[in-house]
């Protein structure tokens, strides 16, 4: 086929299947501004910033124009600059302009564009809405005075997560984003995944910030602050503090945490190794009895919440294993129970829903949670910056004993398909290195939202599905319920790409998420222990601390509609 071109600012640009003119313009190296365009969401076309002028003087939104050969557009004419400035001015006139104290300051798209377009004056009266913040959720904070109604959160919640906790209410200049019946977020059907905050271009939805409490704990001589770091954090934090290459910087994280004053530093992947063993046992038992199948994984708290809200009938199919964070939290509290100091367990997570998970009654003993605080990657970034420590120059250090280094299986928990791969490594009869290599290409790896694989198991074949994004999970559930599909094991992660794409991480596109995934697989490749059951720490735990307490510390029963996030 002959190559087709369209002209962008008089330069021919080849059309290679781009869905819209905006993508082509960006390919041509022009950073056309938008608030409401994300390639993973439907085209909404509301911000009107991506307008381009055609050769007849017509103005079109490039996000919703299909590229055609011979089309000629201009991206930077005097008219377009005038319109863009006016649109920004109109948004700012209706916006809280307390930039310096805003959670999003520095990463706010509106702030950035106002700066880029040199908006120095707003000629209209400031009519920002006087609405209280919604701080009811453990995971996110909503501030409607900063909302520009781009609808990104609404589409994310509906299209990717199939939750629909928020939507537009009212009309015209009265339009707002709201929940059903104007309930606060905590009482809504929000699952806490935080993806709305991830795509929010301004400070209208942000992740709840708990850094102040951590600083306080670190300054308390009576407190022993123990921290665990989730797998996905180590391949994302550097994007904000150093390189954007998705490499594992766990050593630097350990070093920086130690310098900040954390007393004991561990790896949540150790908890993940426990999960592999427990979940595999459970899976094998269910297979043997052929009951409560398919088995759904239970690592993702947003998925648990979703199932509680929409599919309470499926709760019995969800693994009774606690998430790695909660397993490890319980182990840590048990381990330090005789400490003469007040033990505070902090978890650094790529996730906002973990904040709500830590606050669930199921994970408290006499009112005290196993995990006292959950910090997101972004909050840790902020703390590092606040401490003045230059992350890039940290010399890598190792985590503390007695929980030491995890297996590679525990590390890949951070990426979609990782849990599944770890479980397969455990159940597969073939324990050779070749089997491991083949497994990597059996369809469990990659950023696709739905993946399927089957592996031989004794006489039978196990059918396994891996989904990320709750809307993808919903499709699968419907297919299972209708009898169209049959699976034995299903891994569900709420965030597209798994935990590496969690809302607590710095914002990343699909490509960047893939780099993070590669970073974790590389770590796995380099670890001498590939299988959870070969991790000596885990073996000693079963022989020691966990003896007779496996069920109490590592399992949980979700009783239906739990607390709201």
């Amino acid at each position: 086929m002959r190559a087709e071109f369209m002209m962008i600012d008089d330069i021919p640009v080849e059309i290679q299947g781009e869905k819209n003119v905006l993508e082509l313009i960006r390919k041509a190296g022009i950073d056309l501004p938008t608030f409401c365009y994300y390639s993973e969401l439907s085209v909404y076309g509301a911000c009107r910033l991506c307008v381009v002028e055609n050769k007849w003087g017509g103005i079109e939104a490039s996000c919703s124009t299909i590229p055609k050969a011979g089309m000629e557009v201009y991206t930077n004419t005097p008219r377009l600059r005038k319109y863009r400035k006016m649109i920004l001015e109109l948004i700012l006139a209706n916006h809280c302009r307390d930039c310096t104290t805003c959670e999003k300051s520095g990463t706010c798209k509106l702030q950035e564009l106002a700066m880029r377009f040199g908006i120095k004056e707003v000629r209209f009266e400031n009519t920002k809405k006087d609405l209280p913040m919604d701080t009811s959720s453990c995971c996110i904070v909503r501030d409607e005075t900063k909302c520009i109604l781009c609808g990104d959160c609404v589409r994310m919640c509906d299209e990717v997560q199939n939750v629909g906790a928020i939507d537009f209410v009212h009309r015209g200049s009265e339009m707002r984003i709201g929940t059903a019946f104007h309930q606060c977020m905590a009482k809504s059907n929000c699952v806490g995944c935080g993806q709305c905050a991830a795509v929010c271009p301004t400070g209208a939805i942000v992740v709840k910030n708990d850094t102040a409490s951590i600083w306080k704990e670190l300054g308390d001589p009576q407190a022993k602050v123990v921290v665990q770091i989730a797998p996905a954090v180590r391949v994302a934090i550097d994007e904000a503090l150093g390189q954007k290459n998705g490499k594992n910087v766990m050593g630097k994280i350990v070093a920086v945490l130690r310098r900040m004053g954390f007393n004991e530093i561990f790896d949540t992947s150790t908890g993940a190794d426990l999960t592999v063993l427990e979940e595999t046992n459970e899976f094998l038992k269910r297979l043997e009895k052929n009951e409560r199948l398919p088995l759904f994984t239970s690592c993702c708290p947003a998925w648990i919440k979703y199932a509680e809200n929409k599919h309470p009938d499926l709760l019995q199919n969800i693994s009774t294993c606690r998430s790695p964070m909660e397993m490890f939290g319980a182990v840590l509290k048990e381990h330090y129970k005789h400490s003469n100091k007040r033990v505070v367990v902090v978890a650094i997570m790529p996730c906002t829903a973990k904040k709500a998970e830590a606050a669930r009654d199921e994970f408290k003993v006499e009112g005290t949670p196993y995990v006292d605080y959950v910090l997101t990657t972004q909050e840790l970034i902020q703390m590092v910056r606040e401490s003045g420590l230059v992350f890039d120059e940290m010399e890598p250090e190792a985590v503390d004993m007695p929980f030491g280094a995890p297996s590679g299986a525990g590390v890949i928990f951070g990426v979609t398909g990782g849990v599944t791969e770890a479980v397969i490594r455990r159940v597969a009869d073939d324990k050779s290195i070749n089997m491991l290599r083949t497994l990597a290409f059996k369809g469990v790896r990659g950023m696709e939202g739905v993946k399927e694989t089957s592996i031989p198991f004794g006489e039978q074949t196990l059918h396994i599905a891996v989904v990320s994004g709750l809307a993808n999970a919903e499709v699968l559930i419907q297919q299972i319920k209708s009898g169209e599909k049959h699976y034995d094991l299903i891994e569900v992660m709420a965030c597209p790409g798994g935990c590496i794409g969690g809302a607590g991480q710095p914002f990343a596109d699909r490509e960047q998420k893939a780099k993070r995934g590669q970073g974790l697989y590389e770590t796995d490749r380099m670890s001498s222990i590939k299988r959870a059951e070969e991790n000596p720490v885990i073996l000693s735990l079963y022989q020691g601390l966990l003896k007779g307490k496996v069920h109490e510390l590592l399992h949980v029963e979700y009783k239906g509609k739990g607390q709201k996030s």
């Binding site: 076309g45 103005i59 319109y83 109109l90 009309r171 200049s173 339009m175």
Partner: protein, 624 residues
């Protein structure tokens, strides 16, 4: 149940005969306006009195009515709403205006029984009495084709529709024409969409027909929302079957199986009559499965809109039917490709569908002879504002504004001078004296910076303040903006803010520039038609009446003496005798003075109610 063509033909003949035998008919206008004026009471009164008097009277069309019987019918809108409630009496064609229940007895005695015209109830102007409807200037200059049955048949009866040749076009389309030929005919006729856009209906239909997807929809846009427009309402209320027939023909031509009519819930009568009409069509087998034995299946549903103006926009309308928020979406895909439920959809407005049977029955050539070549056919307009004859009219496209406003509309009410006419509702522009000879058609108006829109004509006399007009329409669009795109949501709000300031005397010199800058941004960048046209009234009033804007801003004066906040009421000390009457009457205690000396009004307290002006015996108090 009509099972085949001959069934329909036979039934039509029966009712045609029946209606011809029934010589005397009382047609009581039962449009929304006349019902509000008491048309239902008049109907009851006629019925009661004729029964008491032993007059053989039928309220429905029977297959064999007694040939001396009197038909008492609730018809659709006669159009002359200013003069309602209206009663037309056939065979003489008398039109009685402003009829009250008390007049019924006299009408029965003199007109029904003796055939005399009661002149006091007839329309009269300038000393001349117009006995028959056809003589009245308001009707004389009209060409009523789409509205031909409105006011002439019972609007709630399929039988009456049959008796005047109803469903003949459907019959022709089903039995005598290939599906492509139907579309060809509509294309040839150059019937253009009456909703405002003027897009050729035939082209739309053929685009839908071409789609590979087997499931297709026909959607009728009855979400008429322009202030002062009621053409579509009158068609739905007055001749619902004609519209259904148009939809059925469209469905046949395009291969659609289902249709939806989207009507505003504020049109309860239209909804009631449409529901009834659909039920009747079902009962006769004109809707449903295997219509007239042709294998053609079609059904029509009614969807009531919640009153959002923006739901008149195609993609917002289909979203609303689907149960989603009524918000326009980006195009492509277009409605003809993926409209309702993401299926190919023909979306036309009420008047367009009502034109279809005419085209099919009489042929494209006949249709093209009406009006100019590029905009053939007729157009219904709703005349409102400071005009003598408000009401619903229908004229050939290309008729001049002058004919519409002065010959049919009777000129300005109270003899005031003509100033402007707002055409096309809040999306249109205003036309002035220099535009009076413009032909009313899609292209000529577009050139003049206005649009024909759905057909609302708001006529304004010299006492109208054009800044206030612009504020009124901006207030409307601002309220009706869906809120999706930034320029429309935020831009209209700012334009309204500026206009509100102006009419309160707080305008600033740079405001006109700011308005035009906002207007340019909104028109160029807004997502949908509502936004793109939202600023038109402002731009066209600035273009034509810039001096009025300047007077408001620079002199804090309203030349039309219309803006309440800019009024100044003063007492002429030379004329004031100091009687203190005004001071005692003033509700806000703004007038003070010593008795027998001139009084003074405190402008800061005065609320410009004007009660002092009317009270002053010496005409000493003036407003300017």
């Amino acid at each position: 149940m009509l099972k085949m063509r001959s069934d329909l033909v036979n039934l039509r003949e029966i009712y045609q005969k029946a209606t011809q035998m029934q010589k005397v008919k009382i047609l009581i206008c039962s449009g929304t306006g006349c019902i509000a004026g008491g048309a239902k009471e008049i109907h009851q009164e006629f019925l009661r009195r004729m029964e008491a008097q032993g007059v053989n009277c039928f309220v429905t069309l029977e297959k064999e009515p007694h040939d001396k019987s009197v038909g008492l019918k609730q018809s659709g809108c006669h159009g002359f709403c200013e003069m309602g409630p209206l009663v037309r009496i056939e065979p003489w064609g008398f039109l009685y205006i402003k009829v009250k229940p008390e007049d019924c007895q006299e009408i029965i005695d003199k007109t029904i029984l003796k055939g005399e015209c009661i002149e006091r109830l007839a329309y009269h102007k300038d000393g001349k009495v117009y006995q028959t409807q056809e003589e009245i200037p308001f009707y004389k200059k009209q060409t009523r084709l789409v509205l031909e049955h409105c006011g002439h048949i019972d609007a709630t009866s399929l039988e009456e529709y049959l008796s005047v040749g109803g469903y003949k076009a459907l019959e022709k389309a089903l039995f005598d024409m290939e599906e492509e030929a139907i579309i060809k005919e509509i294309e040839l006729s150059n019937l253009r969409g009456r909703g405002g856009g003027g897009f050729p209906a035939g082209r739309k239909w053929s685009q839908v027909r071409r789609q590979k997807e087997p499931v297709k929809y026909i959607v009728c846009n009855g979400d008429e929302g322009d202030p002062g427009a009621f053409m579509d309402r009158s068609i739905m209320e007055g001749d619902p079957h004609r519209m259904l027939e148009g939809m059925m023909i469209a469905a046949r031509a395009c291969g659609a199986q289902e249709g939806y009519i989207y009507v505003r819930a504020e049109y309860p009568l239209a909804i009631e009559r449409l529901c009834k009409a659909i039920a009747q069509a079902h009962a006769y087998g004109l809707l449903g499965k295997n219509i007239l034995g042709t294998g053609f299946d079609f059904d029509i549903h009614i969807n009531r809109g919640a009153g959002a103006f923006v739901c008149g926009e195609g993609s917002a309308l289909t979203a609303s039917i689907e149960g989603k928020r009524g918000m326009p979406r980006v195009k492509p895909p277009r409605t003809v490709e993926q409209g309702l439920f993401e299926k190919p959809t023909v979306l036309n407005n009420v008047e367009t569908f009502a034109n279809v049977p005419l085209v099919i029955l009489n042929g494209a050539q006949w249709y093209k002879n009406i009006g100019p070549e590029n905009s053939p056919g007729t157009k219904a307009f709703a005349l409102t504002g400071n005009i003598e004859n408000t009401g619903l009219i229908e004229v050939p496209m290309g008729t001049s504004l002058r004919e519409v406003i002065f010959d049919i509309g009777g000129g300005m009410r109270g003899g005031a001078g003509f100033k402007a006419v707002q055409i096309g509702g809040p999306s249109g522009g205003c036309l002035t004296t220099k535009d009076l000879d413009l032909p009313l058609d899609f292209d000529a108006l577009k050139k003049a910076g206005a649009m024909i829109g759905s057909g609302g004509l708001v006529v304004m006399d010299e006492n109208t303040c054009m800044v206030e007009v612009a504020r009124f329409f901006m207030n409307f669009t601002q309220n009706e903006s869906c809120g999706k795109c930034v320029p429309c949501r935020e831009g209209t709000k700012r334009m309204l803010e500026i206009l509100e300031r102006m009419v309160e005397g707080k305008g600033e010199p740079e405001d006109i520039e700011k308005l035009l800058e906002l207007a340019d941004t909104i028109s160029s960048t807004a997502l949908c038609g509502l936004g793109k046209t939202a600023a038109f009234p402002v731009v066209s009033t600035i273009k034509n009446f810039k001096e009025e804007y300047e007077a408001h801003i620079l002199e804090k004066r309203c030349p039309a003496k219309n803006c309440q906040k800019l009024k100044q009421i003063t007492i002429d000390p030379a004329l004031c005798k100091g009687c203190s009457k005004c001071s005692r009457l003033c509700p806000v205690d703004a007038i003070h003075g010593k008795v027998k000396e001139p009084f003074v009004i405190d402008p800061n307290k005065c609320i410009k109610c004007g009660s002092c002006i009317s009270a002053c015996a010496f005409k000493a108090i003036k407003e300017d």
